[in-house]
């Protein structure tokens, strides 16, 4: 769609002094889009100029509208010499390219100069008028929404998954062009920054076209990377999942109560949906067991097509029922049409999904992590300007992933990511994902019913009557009769509690036990006692709601650093690396495994493996969140085995064994896993009794299960030493790398999003010295955030680079959230059976069941909670407003209480978040807040250079300032769209080049995320007020 871009420059403030003689500045602004330029008047002698310009109008066609950024350049007018540049602003217009005519960008933007950083601010207004498409044959991707968020965005409903989309664009790097030798660093940086933003626009436009060809209207889990190949150019890569999203709220007339439509249709299905639900149950029952029993390709195909044929009527009947209630028939129609478009998984060339969490019912089985790597030579590209070679590389990798996935008996890859590492002419391409069996034609309605993403926030709405019924039905069918009774109880409780229902199906192996693709220890599922489960489950996705876990999650990281002979030339170097990679991966894996066992856990979520190649080092880091998955067997305490020749050695082995046992017990205690033992052990004995048919398998599995042997070569084995050296997080800290929080921890409020950049010389001496780097970093972060404890560090992301021969750079991002501890698993409560605690939860459950609860009831429960000690003295003050609140609010106050318990500045945050602050978070949501609107996906690329390094405080001062400037720019952009938050914040790239001898340094940072408008959960303002008044009084 072509359009008219309208820009107005209002004013500036805090400009730098450009004229030494007057200590003032004669500023004017150049507004540029493409080749057109407009200028404002010169505002003489002012550091706070007021221009109040007219509207500058640019008529632009579709393509450049998406590719080009709007550029504003602030200059100082000089009568005699050349005008001096003050700085620039780039405005990405993509968020404006939607049908929403009211969208406008308006606000104070930092004036950014690549040599001087932020120098004042500029107040501008930007609007875009889009014309309807003039040429039917030109494919436009205007209006395709992009989300970095790797799940269905909150408030949306996913109707169709159109499939994996990817694109790759290549360009010359201005830094490596001949012209760079004669132009100023500023011109060079600006050329580069502009190119990045252009490439990013082009990439999105091309992906957008692909999505609209597939029939989708949005890309979720969008991930964009730049490969700085050096001489051979810049490659911009983007991957994502094309989907068709609808906003349920748009399909219904706004309800006067302001409640989301979920409430509206909850009474309806009880009568009208009854006829429509039985078929859906039948479908499920018919297909699921088939899939489990015989996961052969042939059968699978037929069963799948079955599903997709039958589903449309189901979908339509469901929506009609809700549609008729709200008096809108068109919604139902649309669903029918769109559901029919849902491509079956077999039709997708690459059945890859870049999301990390999925609607309930989407995942059937989880297989395990699949990954592929490939070492390539950049100087062997015949035609560096063309993308073909790189396309071919990635096709190769993806095909390999697909093959791996099939051998695991799976047909889809979830949580799929791609990444590269470049060192001189070597490039290593890596792809990772989780093999799974999925149901793409899952009931689309359920995605909205299950409360949207925020797991931290206690579920807003109790699951509707119908949903619970249906799911129960399915599960009961799957479960065998022996376990049925206990299951019933279990599910009853969990659904009452508002927690999602659990489904152990996901953990069952998707392949036949005897046709496992690799040796794997299988045992019987601890929940249904029927199917086989692996002893551990590694995944790259967020914890699915259906999988039941015990205790808390824990952060796990494996780190391997291997010296590599220095490059002797491209080919041999590449061979060296590819020979080394399998060993590195093996070591990573065994470290992960050992640590997992030490934690007494059996599952990994959010596994991220990063391989980095340096000139003389090869580094691999694997990061994940460990959990205890209820369906999987209890991991045994690792047993040390080794050859002890002397008495002394034997004693040392015993000592190690003792320490390992102690550590496991300590970890279990820390993560609330101690009581699990009894809870699970007894049911297992029942299983052995009545499942005779599986007896042989069971023997085998139990034999393996009870022993996890750590081989020790000698008592000083570095592996073990490092393992036991691993320090614990300080008291009051939890750390996770997933978005969703597994287990009993839930988040109350964001306290601080942080970025740590660490870089130092490193000589590989011992394994532990490499470990220590990471351990130290984590300790450092905890020390910095010590005043916020107790808290949870979430969305932790490590990025490792080897920028110079003997240097390692680590960037660490994450968010520190205050936590509240509510045991959300009733199963757990039963096993602990602490009378008081149990009563509390039941109290809440009851009041929740009755829908809107009576005041008395609530007060009672509130007091119960308080007596548990988490809120204590708060109750009195909050009681009054509580009288008219439901369970959500109760949690609201609780989290306030916790927040207050932490430090005062923490409290200040909460108050100010209600004002004009901009919150950044790597998570998909902001705890305590709900996302009202998504304003657009942002991809920022900044370059900063300094030729006066010492004067700005050295490398550290330079980096600290730059990172702060990047965040400031991000916040200003979000605020200019009327937003107050950026979710899924990610630092994709941080390339620092320094030359301290020349007093010079350059850095590139690429960050991305989704700008959003968030509003506090309803209870928030009510509760904050009384607290604020009391915040002066000492906390007892």
């Amino acid at each position: 769609m072509p359009g008219k871009v309208k820009v107005r420059v209002l004013a500036g403030r805090g400009l730098p002094v450009m004229d030494r003689s007057t200590d003032l500045t004669d500023a004017y602004v150049e507004v540029r889009f493409g080749t057109d330029v407009f200028k404002t008047d010169i505002c003489k002698k002012s550091l706070n100029p007021q221009w109040n310009s007219e509207w500058f109008k640019f008529e632009v066609e579709d393509e450049s509208l998406q590719d080009e950024p709007l550029e504003l350049r602030v200059l100082d007018h000089d009568t005699y010499s050349a005008n001096d540049a003050i700085g620039k602003i780039y405005v990405d217009l993509n968020p404006l390219l939607t049908k929403d005519p009211l969208k406008v960008i308006s606000g104070w933007f930092p004036i950014y100069d690549t040599m001087h950083g932020i120098r004042g601010e500029l107040n501008i207004i930007v609007k875009v008028d889009l014309f309807s498409d003039v040429n039917k044959f030109r494919q436009s991707s205007c209006g395709i929404q992009f989300f970095s968020t790797a799940e269905v965005p909150s408030g949306y409903r996913m109707q169709v998954i159109n499939g994996f989309v990817e694109e790759l664009v290549v360009n010359d790097d201005p830094e490596y062009q001949w012209i760079d030798k004669i132009r100023t660093p500023r011109a060079s940086n600006e050329a580069r920054q502009r190119l990045f933003s252009k490439l990013s626009g082009e990439l999105q436009r091309k992906i957008g076209v692909k999505v609209s060809e597939l029939g989708g209207n949005a890309v979720i889990g969008y991930c964009q990377c730049f490969d700085l190949e050096g001489e051979s150019g810049i490659v911009a890569r983007g991957i994502g999942t094309g989907v068709t999203l609808v906003r349920p709220s748009q399909m219904m007339p706004p309800s006067p109560l302001g409640v989301s439509p979920q409430f509206k249709d909850s009474p309806l299905p009880e009568e009208s949906a009854t006829p429509s639900s039985p078929p859906s149950q039948i479908i499920r029952c018919a297909t699921s067991p088939v899939k489990v029993v015989s996961p052969h390709t042939q059968v699978r195909r037929s069963s799948d097509s079955d599903v997709s044929n039958i589903t449309p009527p189901k979908g339509s009947s469901l929506t009609e029922s809700s549609g008729s209630g709200s008096g809108l028939g068109s919604g139902g129609k649309a669903v029918t049409k769109l559901s029919a478009q849902q491509p079956s998984i077999e039709l997708m060339e690459y059945p890859f999904f870049t999301m990390t969490s999925f609607p309930v019912g989407f995942i059937i089985h989880l297989g395990g992590v699949v990954s592929a790597k490939s070492v390539k030579l950049l100087d062997k590209i015949h035609n560096p300007e063309e993308p073909e070679t790189r396309d071919a590389w990635w096709t190769e990798i993806r095909t390999e992933i697909r093959t791996h996935c099939r051998t695991m008996g799976c047909h889809a890859v979830l949580g799929y990511t791609e990444h590269t590492t470049i060192c001189d002419e070597i490039i290593v391409l890596c792809a990772t994902g989780t093999a799974a069996r999925v149901n793409v034609t899952y009931d689309p309605a359920s995605s909205t019913r299950i409360p949207p993403p925020a797991p931290a926030v206690v579920q807003e709405k109790p699951p509707t009557e119908k949903e619970r019924d249906k799911k129960l039905y399915v599960d009961v069918n799957l479960a065998n009769s022996a376990a049925q009774g206990s299951l019933h109880a279990l599910y009853d409780h969990s659904s009452d509690d508002g927690a999602p229902f659990y489904n152990c199906l996901l953990c069952h192996v998707p392949y036949k036990p005897n046709s496992a693709p690799f040796p794997v220890n299988l045992s019987v599922c601890a929940i249904c006692r029927k199917r086989k489960v692996p002893d551990v489950l590694f995944t790259t996705i967020d914890p699915p709601q259906e999988i039941q876990t015990h205790g808390k999650g824990a952060f796990i990281q494996a780190r391997v650093c291997r010296p590599k002979p220095k490059s002797k030339g491209g080919e041999s170097n590449a061979k060296e690396i590819s020979d080394c990679l399998p060993f590195l991966e093996y070591e990573l894996h065994s470290q992960l495994m050992n640590k997992l066992k030490l934690f007494g856990m059996n599952g990994l979520y959010g596994l991220k493996m990063q391989i980095t190649v340096g000139e003389s080092l090869l580094v691999g880091v694997a990061t994940a969140t460990a959990v205890f998955i209820a369906a999987l067997p209890i991991p045994p305490i690792p047993r040390v085995s080794g050859q002890a020749t002397t008495e002394e050695e034997n004693n040392r082995l015993l000592e190690i064994q003792k320490r390992i046992s102690e550590r496991v017990m300590k970890n279990r205690e820390k993560n609330d896993l101690l009581h699990i033992d009894t809870g699970q052990a007894s049911p297992r004995s029942i299983v052995t009794d009545d499942s005779d048919d599986d007896a042989s398998d069971l023997d085998l599995s139990s034999g393996n299960k009870e022993t996890f042997v750590i081989e020790v070569d000698d008592a000083n084995d570095e592996n073990i030493v490092a393992l036991l050296r691993e320090s614990q997080l300080p008291e009051g800290f939890t750390m996770l790398n997933t978005h969703k929080i597994p287990g009993s921890t839930s988040l109350a409020a964001n306290l601080q999003m942080f970025t740590q950049v660490w870089r130092q010389e490193y000589f590989p001496t011992s394994r532990s010295s490499f470990m220590d780097i990471f351990e130290n970093l984590v300790k450092k972060i905890c020390y910095k955030l010590r005043r916020m404890s107790p808290c949870c560090l979430c969305g932790i992301d490590f990025g490792v680079e080897i920028p110079e021969e003997k240097e390692i750079q680590i960037t660490l991002t994450g968010v520190c959230c205050s936590t509240e501890n509510v045991p959300d698993s009733v199963f757990e409560l039963h096993s602990t059976n602490k009378g008081n605690l149990l009563k509390t939860v039941q109290g809440v459950t009851n009041s929740n069941n009755s829908g809107t609860s009576e005041g008395d009831d609530m007060m009672f429960t509130m007091e119960e909670y308080a007596s548990e000690g988490s809120v204590g003295n708060l109750t009195g003050q909050v009681k009054a407003p509580l009288l008219r609140q439901t369970k959500v609010e109760t949690t609201g106050t609780k989290m306030e209480g916790n927040t207050r318990r932490s430090l005062e500045h923490v409290h200040v945050h909460n108050i100010h978040k209600l004002k004009s602050w901009v919150e950044l978070t790597p998570l998909h949501y902001i705890p305590g807040f709900k996302i009202e609107r998504y304003l657009g996906n942002y991809n920022f690329f900044f370059i900063r250079e300094s030729t006066s390094l010492r004067e700005v405080g050295g490398q550290g001062g330079f980096m600290q300032m730059f990172v702060a400037e990047v965040m400031a720019n991000v916040r200003a952009n979000v605020a200019s769209l009327g937003g107050n938050g950026l979710v899924s914040y990610r630092m994709n790239q941080c390339v620092l080049m320094c030359n301290p001898h020349k007093n010079q340094s350059q850095c590139l940072i690429n960050v991305s995320g989704d700008a959003v408008v968030v509003a506090p959960e309803e209870s928030f303002p009510i509760v904050v007020e009384p607290l604020r008044k009391n915040s002066d009084s000492p906390v007892t």
Binding site: E121, K784, Q960
Partner: protein, 362 residues
Amino acid sequence: MTAVDVFVGNYTLIDSELYGLWLNGYSAQDAALFLQKSGVLQKADVSMEIVYSDIQDQYRLFFGLEKLLQSPPKLIDQQIYQMDTDMQRQVIERYYQFDSVVVREILGRKLSSRNRKDMDDVSEKTRIPIRSCRRQFDNLKRVFKTVEEMMGSLVENIKTHYLLSEDLARQYAAIVFIANNRFETGKKKLSHLSFEDFVFCANQMITNWSYSSVECTVHADMDVDLDRGFLHDLRELKMISEKEVLDEHKGQVISHLKPSLTKKSRQVLEESFKNNSKAIINIACGLNHSKDVRDIFVDLVEKVTEPCMSAGLSGSDMEAFLNAYKDTIVRMDVFRLQPHMLAVWDRYMKTLKLCVLQIYHT
């Protein structure tokens, strides 16, 4: 080799303790040692390296903030550091706070870069780290330069341009006032006077003797200067020193003091009345000459307080005397021909009395 180790948060949080150490001129190493002594390492179970890294982060942040703190409204407007207003105000206030011992040393010196070098001596004398002294000097100089030429109320100007609290702004106003009038404060004779004494006196003068005082009719000029018209009028007080007036005045004062003072004190006052009165009137007349204005504190000490003190008069004696001295004139008929002089007398004496009592250290 390049070492980078930085931590940046979305919210800029200031570690109050470290900010204090930084303001006090501790280097990052000193601060680390200080924290080490206070047992932070054991408490948090961390290594020195981690503590030091945190200190450096904060110090770099302070370094960045310092540029904005030169002009506090910039700190409020800026977007680089996301902080709440309370925190911003606190940071500003603390940055502009000073040690009175240091400022006492700076007071009366010309706020020029030449004198900045003397901060070494000040630092040595006051035992406050040189960096802190320099900051205090620079702050004074900056505030002085900003408001020196400004119209309107001194305190208000300082408050709007430096966003300081009323209390701190008043202290700065006093310093600016003293600096602008180049009052002599550094003489050895004055060394017993504290910074607070000067602040009090200067604020009294600003309120009552400057252009912004209520009595002043022309607010055309700035209140960093004394009201010229008033100073001009003060010359008329000369007649109080004339023989007949002086004698009558003396009699009135002494009789007035009879019920309230001891005999001994009365005797002392009677003996010294002539000198005291002359000194007070001379000071008043001298205020018209800028050279004499500068010496106002010296004159007050040399001519008024020192003689009285050495004669053994107590503070309350002095207060009674000055009250009587001021009030009796009104009853006498000196200003028959110039009735406006009554107001001038009152304006002069009220302030003078307060100043004398403030610096009357017995």
